[in-house]
Structures are given as structure tokens and as C-alpha cells.
Subunit: 329 residues, 2 copies
DNA sequence: TTGTATGCGTTATCAG
DNA sequence: CTGATAACGCATACAA
């Protein structure tokens, strides 16, 4: 393997000079800069990132913490978009990025988790899909041992930023749109997991909307499960006018139930997953650009790693209707 | 940061002794071993993998090379399963694993690609979804600079293993099953991408099956595209008896077309993606355990990294029928 | 069985 | 502007 030493010899300069050229230090004459870059070309030299990390003591290594949906693979696209967006930005920012699933760390206490990330030379973490009642992750954030960006959860401190769309507003918008496109004032809201911040936000939005528009709101907990949503719809949808769901998957479950019952009720979802195009009926939903959310999260993490302090970042969303013709290709 | 030096001091032994204990060297007395482990506990010491890699010159870092489907997110679950399976096994085998999308390397020549992976300290690569006509990747494999495991492509050399299910047999089986469950001998086969090894295997299987069972085989190229398959079905399915597809997505496209035409033809797919449960009609398909394929690929890569020579590994598959009731949860 | 010394490929701090 | 040289944290051949 060709090292910086070989380059120095080839260029007829000192090792440190090569290093300076490589890292774009000021105070290097154009002539030596040229000699070095030429030598690098000739020898096809590749800097050893491992050695660089060891020497400079900054790893630039970040981790993506993701929850793998063992059963509902229908929403794998969300995580895939997260990964894709993050990797793109990580490359742009010259960050080394690894993917970690919750399953790896789920039984660890704070110390073990810290140890784990440290041993991986991780200096920054992007947390996706964090539960509200995950005490260990909360402590990890509070410990401020790592720079952290939390997606869709409002944790902020010196070393932690929060990022995501405005779930309150988005839920408000999509529900309002669906309601105003149809008639009726009895709303069935199928909510997501209780221990989730976004669920609380969305419920709050529904309550505010109901108050403002004088709707009768009936809330049931669907836990983001298609089956639960289906059962809820089977049981309660008949004497309601409109079904609003906290996720697309639940919207699909509810819609399928309605179709089985052979009655029609407008249904709206949340997320904009591709599957929405396959269920036969068009539905309103909130389209999140997950890849962008994730890219921005990494960007924010990079900011933290450069010494900036944590903050809250809001990203845009849009309302869409998804139908088969649009998604097939 | 607490280093091995601190541990040595705390335990009252030499650095090298600590290292030996940490790496389970023989010839270390139980007493010193105990002293060291206790010191490690007390100081909450975490070995620095970066330094270890630099020192030992072996990184244990591998890369997953994946093709992200920008448009057909419906099959993101496949890549997700690949990632998940690989990460699990990588952790088990103590390998550091990064994910790389084709988009990153697609315009590189051999030298740039080698440089890229080298700079990332990558010593092994698992290649998913490789095109037959990807000359650069072919050269990369031939160069044997890295240990490589190729999924679903039969490249084998000293440092390269091939892994995957037997696509020939699987296609043969699922087609035969579908045909024997129904009547008719005019088969429309919608094939996948031309430049793909698995497509060739599957076509060969269909040809052999047709010869043996005296079927009339009509082949069209669907490029793994749902829309193309749809159009092919719209055009040719009417005067055929059975539609066999090289992928689930194409099977779904064909099935939707048949439903739109309001005629029924048995359709079978290939892969076992979750979406198959959402289209309303049950179809036969080949169920691949993608997570397992990927885990085995990493396992095989680990074998190569340990000095074994490349080989061909065949994994099992099974035939299933997918319906909504089974996948909802 | 344990300790000493050297080197891995960089970066960073000085002195020149 | 350039060049020695000392870290960085660990592994390992070799000496004891």
C-alpha cells in the first residue's frame, strides 16, 4: 500500500508538507503543491482514513439509528428513504456513516450504549422513530456524550437538535382538506402509537380542529397497525362520516374494512407511502419527503459536530392524493 | 478518553499484557487476566477500534453495494431485508459494515472504484443486483483487490464467491405449479431485465419446462417494470392461458391489467414481496428469504476474509401463495 | 508468563 | 513557507 511517505519521497518534500497539501492548508507554495499533487497522481495515492482519524482524533463517523419493522414491510420504503437520504448527505459532508438497528441496542443500559457507540468511534447519531418512553435513549441524549439529531421528537439541548415536519399542522391540514371535500361532522380518528410524540401532536391537531369546526371527534388507538385500524373501522366507522388516520397503513386497513363492509366513507392517511396507490381507492395523505428529512438531519448533525449548538428544525410537507396511475412506472 | 495505557497503569501491568488479555491471547495467567478485566471494568475502558485497525492492518470493514430503486419503492423491502440480514451477521462476525449505493460509484472506472473502497478501508464487498453488462464491476471482481461475494450472479474466483437461490429451479417450480393447478398450454412469460443473469436462468427454465410439458411459450421483456408488464398483459394476455412473470411487481402489473380488462388468467410472480398481498387476487410466487440470503452472503464474505477461496453457494427457496389475511398485522 | 520496543499512516506543533 | 518529530491507541515480535 502506498503511503504518504512514498508520496513525500516521490515529490521530494517532507511528509508534513504532503499532509498540508492534502488537507488544503494555507501557506503552501503553488510549486510544491503542484509537485505533491503530481506525485499523488503518479502513485495513485489514497489517504488512509483510519490513520487520519486516529491522528486527528476526530472520526467523522456517524450512526443512523433505525427501527426495523419486522412485520410491516410495507413501510420499509420509509426507512430506505431515510437511509438513502442520509448516505447521500453523509458523503457530501465527508462523514463515515453506519446503520444501526434498535434491535442491537434495545437491551442496553446507558453505559453499555455509550460504550457501544464509543467503541465504534461514533461521534454523532441520528435517531429515527424514537419512542417517548425510551428512558435509555433519553438519558443518552441528556448525557450529551454524542452529538445527536432526533427526527420527529422535540429533544433539544446544547448537543442535540430536533428535526422533522410539523406534524400538528400537517394533520390539521389533511384532515381539514378531507372534511371540507366531503360532508358530515362525525369524525373517527384512528391514532398511532400512544408513546409517540407525533401521535400526541396529531391528536392535539384533531382536537383543535374539531373544536374550531364544531366536529364530533371519536378517537381510537390503532397503534400504527393495519389490522387494528381495520378492526376499529369495522366496529366504529359505520355511524361516522369521515375516517382520519394517523398513518397510511392504518388508512389502508380502514379502507379495506370499509370495502369489505361495502360502505363508503372518505379516509385520509399520513406519510405518502407508495402502497397507498395500490388499494384501489384514492385517499388524501400527507407526503413527507423522507429522504430529504434524513439528509437534512445529517446536515444538522454535521453542524453540531462543527461546534454549533442544538436547535429545532422544521421541514416542509405537502398534501397529495395517491392513485395507481401516478405511482406505476 | 481512557486508553489501554490507563488500564495498564490501573492494573499494574504492561500495555502489551492488557492487549493480550483483550484479544484473548493464550499464555496469560488467570491472575493477571483478572487484574486486567477488573481494571477495564473500573475505568469503563473501550478499545479504540480505529487504532486497533491501524495497528493490525486489518480493518474488518465491509461494504454492501446496493441498487436503490428510485421509482419503484414498492420493492424497497427487498433492499431493507438485505441490509437487515447483513448487519445482523456483520455484528455477529464482528465486521464493521457500511452501505453504499450504486449511485455513488456508477460513473467510476476501475481505478477510481478501487481507490474509493481502499480509502474507506474496505476489505470485502457484497454486491447485490449486479447487471451482467457492468464492465467495471466485472473488472473489480477480476482484479481480486477485494474479497467479494456476488448475490445472484455466478462470478467465482479465488477471492470471489457467488450466492443465491437456484433461480432456474425456482422459476421452473412456480411456473409448473401454477400451470398444473390450472388448464391451458399457452403461456405468456413476462421476463425481467435482459442484462441480468437471473433473467437468463428463468427464461431457460421456462423454455425447458415448455419443451418438457409441450407448452406454447410466448416471451416478452418486461424489464422488471410494473408498467411494461401491464402493457404487455393488455396486449398479449387475452389469447393466452396463463401468465408467468419474472418478478412480483410485473405480476401485479399484469394482474391489474387483467382486472381492468375484466378477464381472468392465472398469474404467478417471483420474490414474495408484501405488496402481493394487497392486489386483491392470490398469486403463486417464489418466496425468497432476502435477509437470510444477505446474512449468508456476509458469512461467506467473512470466510473469504479468513483466507478461504471463492465458491458457489446455493440457498433454499419456497413456493407460497400470498393473500391479504396473511400479511396484515 | 510478562514486559520492552517498534511501527501502523496520519496530523499537528514547532523550529528553522 | 518547509521540514523534523512527537503524538494518536493499539498490536506484536522479541527479549527477559
Amino acid at each position: 500500500m502506498v503511503s504518504i511517505r512514498d508520496v513525500a519521497k516521490e515529490a521530494g518534500v517532507a511528509i508534513s508538507t504532503v499532509s498540508k497539501v492534502l488537507n488544503n492548508y494555507p501557506y503552501v507554495s503553488e510549486s510544491t503543491k503542484k509537485k505533491v499533487t503530481e506525485a499523488v497522481e503518479r502513485l495513485n495515492f489514497v489517504p488512509n482514513q483510519v490513520a487520519a482519524a486516529l491522528s486527528s482524533k476526530r472520526s467523522g463517523r456517524i450512526a443512523l439509528l433505525l427501527k426495523l419493522n419486522m412485520k410491516t414491510q410495507a413501510i420499509d420504503e420509509i426507512d430506505m428513504q431515510y437511509i438513502s437520504g442520509a448516505l447521500g448527505m453523509a458523503r457530501e459532508k465527508q462523514l463515515d456513516c453506519i446503520t444501526v438497528f434498535y434491535s442491537v441496542i434495545e437491551k442496553m443500559n446507558l453505559e453499555e450504549m455509550t460504550r457501544y457507540f464509543t467503541s465504534q468511534s461514533i461521534s454523532g447519531i441520528v435517531i429515527f422513530g424514537m419512542d417517548n418512553d425510551d428512558k435509555v435513549l433519553q438519558k443518552l441524549i441528556e448525557s450529551q456524550t454524542f452529538k445527536i439529531v432526533v427526527v420527529d421528537n422535540p429533544y433539544v439541548n446544547e448537543n442535540t437538535s430536533a428535526i422533522g415536519i410539523d406534524h400538528y399542522q400537517a394533520q390539521y391540514d389533511v384532515a381539514w382538506k378531507t372534511i371540507s371535500e366531503n360532508t358530515g361532522n362525525k369524525i373517527l380518528y384512528i391514532a398511532g402509537m400512544r408513546n409517540s410524540f407525533v401521535t400526541e401532536e396529531k391528536i392535539r391537531a384533531m382536537e383543535d380542529l374539531s373544536k374550531k369546526k364544531k366536529l364530533k371527534l371519536f378517537i381510537r388507538n390503532g397503534d400504527f397497525s393495519e389490522l387494528k385500524a381495520r378492526n376499529i373501522a369495522l366496529r366504529y366507522a359505520k355511524n361516522k362520516d369521515i375516517v382520519v388516520c394517523g398513518s397510511d397503513l392504518m388508512a389502508i386497513g380502514a379502507m379495506k374494512a370499509l370495502m369489505d363492509m361495502d360502505i363508503f366513507r372518505p379516509v385520509c392517511g399520513f406519510d405518502g407511502i407508495i402502497l397507498m396507490g395500490y388499494v384501489g381507492k384514492q385517499m388524501n395523505t400527507v407526503k413527507q419527503d423522507f429522504a430529504n428529512v434524513s439528509a437534512e438531519a445529517v446536515c444538522e448533525l454535521n453542524r453540531l459536530l462543527s461546534g454549533s449548538t442544538g436547535r429545532n428544525v422544521r421541514l416542509p410537507h405537502k398534501l397529495v392524493r395517491m392513485k395507481y396511475e401516478d405511482i406505476i412506472c
